[in-house]
């Protein structure tokens, strides 16, 4: 349980950071996003918290295929962003151009997170391999 809470908080922080960074980049193009205020950033926080919660919940299950897992997670992210971000906080108009733009941002954030996780995994794998190598040296 403790690990799940840590994972949830980590997930929340990462998704909030990446989303904030993307919004910061997009803020150079005022026509693309609304101007920032503390309410807007609070809405980011609520949406990313919902996403982190759903990711934590989804990670409790074992998926037979990597792509099925990606599809499930992306569907959850779309539902939260469109439903809460668009429906409740009115982040964007319900027009095709905005819906496509939001979908693009979601996919980018999702894959950046996955790539970061992959590189973190590689770092851990390197450390484990180093330990195995050290143990082998000690034994011979």
């Amino acid at each position: 349980m403790k690990q799940k809470i840590i994972f949830f908080l980590l997930c929340d922080c990462i998704s909030y950071t990446i989303l904030s960074f993307i919004m910061f980049i997009l803020s150079f193009f005022p026509s693309l996003v609304m101007s920032g205020s503390h309410q807007v950033y609070m809405s980011f926080f609520i949406v990313t918290t919902f996403i982190a919660f759903l990711i934590t919940l989804t990670y409790c299950f074992e998926f037979s295929s990597f792509w099925l897992e990606c599809l499930t997670l992306l569907t959850e992210i779309f539902l939260v962003v469109y439903g809460i971000g668009g429906g409740i906080f009115h982040w964007f108009e319900w027009e095709w151009v905005y819906l496509i733009e939001v979908a693009f941002i979601c996919v980018v954030v999702f894959f950046i997170t996955y790539i970061l996780m992959y590189y973190h995994g590689q770092y851990i794998a390197r450390k484990i391999n180093q330990r195995i190598e050290d143990e082998n040296h000690e034994n011979y």
Binding site: Y59, G121, N129, R131
Partner: protein, 146 residues
């Protein structure tokens, strides 16, 4: 704890003697359990014959369709135990659960590789590949002091 190694030409095989003070502390208990695991056996079945398989000879244990298989260097045996029973039996040994249906002996681990989705792939010294599920990754890392 004092550790002493003696080299002897008279001994045909390695002997381990543990001198301890009562009551036995946790550290010594764990060392004893670990040492006993080298001579501990599991009942294994193959073609209606029963074997006492040494734990140190098992590379990994896998559960497939409600059957539990024990994999050694070049042989596969059947066990009548469930995977969770073996997991309990093998606690504090070199065995570790790495997925819903696999327990691996880290003595035979050659290397690990990161995979997408937070999983890892373990390569054993006999070149077999096993998947380490992310649910078990934390315990796996702990085994290596990470």
């Amino acid at each position: 704890m004092k550790i002493v190694f003696h080299q002897s030409q008279e001994k045909k095989e390695t002997e381990v003697h543990v001198y301890y003070h009562e009551p036995l502390d946790q550290e010594t208990k764990e060392i004893c359990k670990y040492l006993q695991s080298f001579s501990q056996t599991i009942l294994a079945y193959d073609k209606q014959q029963i074997y006492h398989l040494l734990l140190k000879d098992i590379y990994y244990i896998e559960s497939v369709d409600d059957k539990t298989f024990l994999y050694t260097k070049d042989h596969v045996y059947l066990s009548k135990n469930k995977l969770y029973e073996l997991e309990n039996l093998l606690k504090k040994t070199s065995f570790i659960r790495i997925s819903k249906n696999t327990i691996m002996n880290i003595h035979y681990l050659k290397s690990v590789k990161s995979l997408l989705g937070g999983k890892m792939e373990a390569t054993l010294i006999n070149q077999e590949h096993l998947i380490i599920n992310r649910h078990y990754l934390s315990a796996f890392k702990k085994k290596f002091g990470l």
